[in-house]
C-alpha cells in the first residue's frame, strides 16, 4: 500500500530525512520508534504533504501512485490520514461542522454526492459511541479548551469518520492517561481491517501493548537503523537507543 523509497527531506536547508525505505502492506501495523530529533514526526508530515518540508530525493507512493505532487488535501482524499501530535484549536467551528466539511469535501473530490444530513448524524453518533465520546463534546469548538486526552480522542474520532486507508498516528499516546489510552487504542483496533494499514509513531513501548504492531522500525538520525518484530520494542524499552547508534 505505502512504499517509501530512499526518501530525503529538508527543512530550511537542513536535511532531516536521509534515505528512508519502508513498505507497508494492507492489513499491517507498523511502529516507528526513535529518540527525540530522529525525524519521526518529519516522516509523518512528509507523508501527509506538509509544504514546509522539501523532498530532495526519493518518493512516497500510495498504491503505486507517487504522492509527491499532491497537496495535503489530495493525499487525504486518496486515503492518507495523519493524527497530529498537537491538534490545532479552531474556535468557532464545532467538531460536528468540521468533520461534516471534511467528509463532504472528500466525497466531492471522489465524485460522490454529499452525505445526507440524517446519515451523517447517524455516522457521527456511531463513531462517537465507539470512542466513548459524549454527544455534548461534538458541539464544542474544535479542540478549543480540550484536554490532551480529549484532543487525541477527537483525532481518532475523525479518523473513524474518514476511514482512511493509511492512518499515521503521531505520538497519539502522549498526554494520555492509561484509561484514555485504552479507549483510543481500542478504537484504533476496532477500525483496523485487512484493507487498511496503521503507522504508529511513538517514543514509548506503552502504546504498543494496546495496539500490537507487526513490525517495529527504529529511526535514528534520519534513517531506519533497525527493523524487527514487536519484540524489538521491548528490547528498546529495556536498553534504550544508545546501543543502536
Amino acid at each position: 500500500m505505502l512504499k517509501i523509497n530512499n526518501l530525503h527531506a529538508n527543512i530550511n536547508g537542513k536535511e532531516i530525512l536521509k534515505g528512508i525505505n519502508l513498505e507497508i502492506k494492507a492489513g499491517e501495523v507498523h511502529a516507528i520508534m526513535g529518540p527525540n530529533g530522529s525525524g519521526k514526526s518529519t516522516l509523518a508530515s512528509v507523508i501527509a504533504g506538509k509544504e514546509d518540508f522539501e523532498v530532495t530525493e526519493g518518493s512516497v507512493e500510495l498504491n503505486g501512485e507517487d504522492l509527491s505532487d499532491f497537496a495535503p488535501e489530495v493525499r487525504a482524499h486518496k486515503g492518507v490520514f495523519l493524527s497530529f501530535q498537537y491538534p490545532i484549536e479552531i474556535p468557532g467551528v464545532t467538531v460536528t461542522n468540521f468533520i461534516k466539511t471534511a467528509i463532504n469535501e472528500t466525497r466531492k473530490a471522489q465524485g460522490m454526492a454529499e452525505l445526507p444530513a440524517k446519515e451523517m448524524l447517524h455516522l457521527i453518533r456511531e463513531k462517537a459511541d465507539l470512542l466513548e465520546i459524549d454527544r455534548k463534546f461534538l458541539s464544542r469548538s474544535l479542540n478549543e479548551g480540550f484536554s490532551g486526552g480529549e484532543k487525541k480522542r477527537n483525532e481518532i474520532f475523525q479518523m473513524a469518520m474518514l476511514e482512511p486507508q493509511l492512518a499515521i498516528l503521531d505520538e497519539t499516546d502522549s498526554g494520555l492517561d492509561i484509561d484514555a489510552l485504552k479507549v483510543v487504542a481500542n478504537g484504533v483496533n476496532k477500525l483496523k481491517s485487512e484493507k487498511n494499514a496503521v503507522l504508529l509513531i511513538t517514543h514509548y513501548q506503552r502504546l504498543l501493548d494496546y495496539i500490537v504492531p507487526d513490525f517495529v522500525h527504529v529511526l535514528h538520525n534520519g534513517k531506519i537503523v533497525k527493523s524487527g518484530g514487536k519484540e524489538l520494542a521491548y528490547e528498546l524499552e529495556e536498553k534504550g537507543y544508545d546501543w543502536l547508534k
Binding site: A48, A71, I88, P91, G92, V93, F98
Partner: protein, 440 residues
C-alpha cells in the same frame, strides 16, 4: 466650483425651499452648522483624526446635492437588500427621499417615521428641540455639514416601558438617477425608560454611478433602556460612506452597536458613546472583510464620565488584496468615573502583502480605581492550522475560509436577530468566495 463652496452657496436656497419656520430651533441649528462647516471645511490628512483616510478622491466629483428621486423604484429592485424573512418596520429612502409605498411605519405604540415630518409637525417640536443636534460632535465638520442640511432620515421615538415587537430596518438607496450624488440622511432615535428596540441600518447603491453618503445618527438611551443597533456596510465600489453615530446613555442602559463592513470604496465610521449616569453598558463590535482597494476606517470613542460603567469593544478585520483598514479606538475614563470596566480589542488578519491595517488604541484614564485593558493583534493565517485542515481533506481555499470564519465568529455570535446572523454569515462567506456546508 469646489464642493465646499458649492455646498455653502446652496445653503440659502435649501433653507428657503423648505417649510421650516425661520424662528425655529431647526433654523438656528442649521445656520450655526453651516457657519461651522464653512469655517472648518472638509477634513484633510493633516488632521490627526484623518491621518489615514483621505477624502480627496471623493471631493473632486460634481455631486448633485438635491437629487431628483427615482420614482419608479419598486419592491423588486430593493428586496434583495431587505431582510425579508423577519417581520419588521421598514423605512425606505430612495435618493434621499422617503418612499412611503415601500415602507412600513407606525405611530401605534411608538413612532417609527421620518425626520421631514418630525421637523415640521408641532407634535414633535418638543422632541426635536430637546434632542436634535444636542450630542452630535461640533468638532466633526462632516457632522456639521449634515446638520446644516438636516431634512430627511429616520425618526424613531419610543415612549417609556415599550418593547418594540419588531426590528426596524432603515435602508437608504441610491438609484443612479444622477451621475454623482451626495446623500445626507439624518436619523434621530429616542428610546424611553425601560424600552427596547432593535435597529438595522443599511446604505445601498443599486446603480453603477457614484454615491457619497454623509450620514449622522443621534441615539438617546434613557434609564434601563436597551438598544441594539446593526450597521450593514456592503455597498458597491462606487459608493462611499461617512457615518457618524452619537449615543447618549442614561443610567443602567445598555447600548450595542455592531458594524459590519464588507464593501464600499471609502467607509469612515465615527462612533461615539457618552455616559450620563451610572451602571451603563456600552458594546461596540465590528467586523471588516475587505478586498480590492476598499478602505474602512473605524474611529470610536467611549467617554466614561460616571462611576460603575462598562464598555466592551471588539473589532475584527480581514484584509485582502490592497485593502486598507484603520482602527482608532479612544476610551476616556474621567476622574469621576471610578470602578469603570473598559475593554478594547482589535484583531486583524492581513491575507495579502499589499493589505494594510493602521491600528491605534488610545486610553486616557484620569480615575485611579478602574479596570481597563486594550489589545491589538495583527497577524496572518496560521499555516499549521491550514495544514491540519488540509490533512483532513479540506482544500486550502475552504480551509482558509473556515479559519477566517472562525476568526470573525465571536463577533457574529453577538448578533441577536437570527435572520440577520444568517445574512451576515452569508455575506462573509460570499466575500471570502466560498460555499460552506453550514452556518456558524
Amino acid at each position: 466650483m469646489e464642493l465646499k463652496e458649492k455646498l455653502v452657496s446652496s445653503f440659502l436656497a435649501f433653507e428657503n425651499k423648505g417649510n421650516i419656520d425661520l424662528d425655529s430651533t431647526v433654523h438656528a441649528i442649521r445656520l450655526n452648522a453651516i457657519n461651522n462647516f464653512e469655517k472648518d471645511g472638509f477634513p484633510t490628512k493633516r488632521d490627526e483624526e484623518w491621518k489615514y483616510t483621505s477624502l480627496n478622491s471623493l471631493l473632486k466629483y460634481d455631486f448633485s446635492l438635491f437629487p431628483n428621486a427615482e420614482k419608479s423604484v419598486g419592491f423588486k429592485n430593493i428586496k434583495d437588500y431587505l431582510i425579508n424573512d423577519i417581520d419588521s418596520y421598514t423605512l425606505i429612502f430612495v435618493d434621499g427621499e422617503f418612499n412611503s409605498f415601500l415602507s412600513e411605519t407606525t405611530h401605534e405604540d411608538c413612532d417609527v417615521c421620518v425626520m421631514s415630518s418630525a421637523l415640521t409637525r408641532p407634535k414633535y417640536k418638543m422632541i426635536i428641540d430637546n434632542y436634535l443636534n444636542t450630542i452630535a460632535n461640533k468638532k466633526n465638520s462632516l457632522a456639521e455639514l449634515n446638520t446644516a442640511f438636516v431634512k430627511e432620515g429616520a425618526f424613531i421615538n419610543i415612549p417609556k416601558n415599550t418593547i418594540v415587537a419588531k426590528p426596524i430596518q432603515i435602508i437608504n438607496f441610491s438609484t443612479g438617477n444622477e451621475k454623482e450624488v451626495l446623500l445626507q440622511p439624518r436619523n434621530l432615535v429616542v428610546v424611553g425608560e425601560n424600552s427596547h428596540v432593535q435597529i438595522i441600518e443599511r446604505h445601498q447603491n443599486i446603480s453603477k454611478n457614484t454615491t457619497l453618503t454623509n450620514s449622522v445618527t443621534e441615539i438617546f438611551v434613557h434609564k434601563r433602556a436597551i438598544v441594539d443597533y446593526y450597521k450593514i456596510q456592503n455597498d458597491t465600489n462606487e459608493s462611499s460612506l461617512i457615518d457618524s453615530t452619537f449615543i447618549s446613555q442614561k443610567q443602567q442602559s445598555i447600548a450595542s452597536v455592531n458594524t459590519f463592513s464588507f464593501g464600499g470604496k471609502i467607509t469612515r465610521n465615527n462612533l461615539e458613546f457618552y455616559h450620563e449616569g451610572e451602571h451603563i453598558t456600552s458594546n461596540l463590535n465590528g467586523i471588516s472583510v475587505l478586498n480590492e482597494k476598499q478602505h474602512v476606517d473605524n474611529h470610536t470613542l467611549v467617554d466614561h464620565k460616571s462611576p460603575n460603567c462598562e464598555s466592551h469593544e471588539l473589532y475584527k478585520g480581514i484584509y485582502a488584496d490592497k485593502s486598507v483598514g484603520v482602527f482608532n479606538g479612544k476610551v476616556i475614563v474621567r476622574q469621576a468615573a471610578q470602578k469603570t470596566n473598559a475593554f478594547q480589542q482589535n484583531n486583524s488578519i492581513l491575507i495579502d502583502d499589499g493589505a494594510t491595517i493602521n491600528s491605534k488604541p488610545q486610553l486616557e484614564i484620569f480615575a485611579d480605581d478602574v479596570k481597563c485593558s486594550h489589545g491589538c493583534t495583527i497577524g496572518q493565517l496560521d499555516e499549521s492550522a491550514l495544514f491540519y485542515m488540509q490533512s483532513r481533506g479540506i482544500p486550502k481555499k475552504e480551509a482558509k475560509a473556515l479559519l477566517l470564519y472562525a476568526f470573525a465568529n465571536d463577533v457574529v455570535e453577538k448578533i441577536k436577530i437570527p435572520q440577520l446572523k444568517a445574512l451576515i454569515s452569508k455575506l462573509i462567506a460570499k466575500k471570502l468566495n466560498v460555499q460552506l456546508g453550514f452556518e456558524l
